[in-house]
Amino acid sequence: RAAEKKIVVGFSQIGAESGWRTANTESIKAEAAKRGIELKFADAQQKQENQIKALRSFVAQGVDVIAFSPVVETGWEWVLREIKRAGIPVVLSDRAVAVTDDSLYVTFIGADFVEEGRRAGRWLAKASDGKAVIAELVGTPGSAPAIDRKKGFTEVIGQYPGMKIVKSQSGDFTRAKGKEVMESFLKSPDAKQITALFAHNDDMALGAIQAMEEAGVKPGKDILIVSIDGVHGAFEAMAAGKLNCTVECNPLIGPQLFDAVDAILAKKKLPKRTQVIEGVFEQSQAAAELPNRKY
């Protein structure tokens, strides 16, 4: 009887704040449709409380598996326990949670933000021979990617005495803010020294590139630019020589996610953590990679 019933998966997404996120959502939806799984999708609009509400509502609806990308790391203990009591397995995607009892979820599929920061740092150290005066465009204050990427990045450049961050300001992960903040960086007295830019995501880097062009600074040449995500626009910019490097953060985790769901329902054992396959792309690879970018 159970076999005839369609599998129902509840998925709570953080929001739709960027093209990256939309691609992430689409990948999951498309994969669910492909496998004939009924997906209950809930958008939390960046709010943890909305997400908790959605998770509890999934319990009330009696879904088979719950998956979600947590808005923040902490604060999931109670609701996860409630889900566990209801006997529903949980899969985390994209971001991890901090819980005392890791039996509260089955597996985590996603990126390691700290590692992304490290990769960006390593690339910059190599490209600049360990000597760089860096401006940093930080993500939204308090958000996990902003904090972790900064952490990874500073960890790496801390090993190079010739590298230091002179400007650091939040660009809220948006192009408009990235541009506005970069403009003010470029007008500050120490602007001339800046040799590199680290942006926590591609959108801010793309905004900053516009600001540089308007100020008569050559992006990618006068100032080395490294950012994270690897969206389509970033590859275009790299192909045009305006961006130097992007650290990929792959949103297309739909297949991996539903592989995990299938495995759980088939009562197979899963590793606690599944890393998403990600790369670091430089200008030389851009033109070749560009056609493969769907988001």
């Binding site: 959502t25 709010k47 009330a60 923040v72 203990e77 109670w78 308090g142 958000s143």
Partner: protein, 326 residues
Amino acid sequence: MKFPLASRYLPLLATALVLAGLYVAGCVSFDNFSSLRVAVNLIGDNGFLGIAAIGATFVILSGGIDLSVGAVVAFTSILIASLVEDHSVNPLAAIAAALIVGSLFGAAMGSLIQWFELPPFLVTLAGMFLARGVGFMIHPQSHGIQNDFFLQTVSERLSLPLNNRVSFPFTGTCFVVMFVLATFVAHYTRFGRYIYALGGDEQSARLMGLPVARTKVLIYALSGFCSALAGVVYTFYTQSGDPASCVGLELDAIAAVVIGGTLLSGGVGFLAGTVMGVLILGLIQTLITFKGDLNSWWTRIVAGMLVFLFILLQNVISSASKRLRG
């Protein structure tokens, strides 16, 4: 003999009717919607919003506005988390401290509004920025609480089992208790009536010899207290503190108050209306989650349309019943 229900209760009745209609519509369209768990979730999940909205109701009834709500909730949550985790303060003491700080913060804003005759909008906006910034100073990111009081006592022991699967969470209990207390304050204390008087006509209230200054400061203190309590409930709910949380919560609170029939210009409204407003916003969210096939943008559009539909029905019902009564 007059109809016992005075016409001032009409909007309330209309709101209740539409709320019930919305609920029934949900039950008809979705399996499991009528389950006890959904109803319990509705109250428990919206507990902190409800408490914040109760505070906002007092302020709006008095003709003011408080934009600091969301920031104070976030500030309180991170304050408690930091006190309990980093400074090993007793959880109850931390909660008490947070409530006191919240009330004082509100009272300070109230004093500025009263003594310097500053517009509440600006003062509470400044308060919002301040609370947000100080929250980040305490701890720059979300901070989990491992203390047993939060992990065990609040979430397990203090929730009331209703049947063997569903229990009424403590956050919901806080909401209900706060609602009862607030209703008592609003309708059975002089202070409560002064709030209405202040919102009805501040000039007249002063000329009638009411203690306008004291009342005003107290109202903002009360709102600060409610925000802080909402923050406490939020920490119960998430068992963590987060300085970045609850952005725009004040708008949800104000929306709930206004949907509940309270006039933004002050003087007219009921706490019961506010509670219904909160439940309506929650119900709309629940309906969308149960629907489950809307993408992010359709979620917003449908949410907006549901609010619109609700307001429209509410208007139609209350004006029709007014006409019926002549």
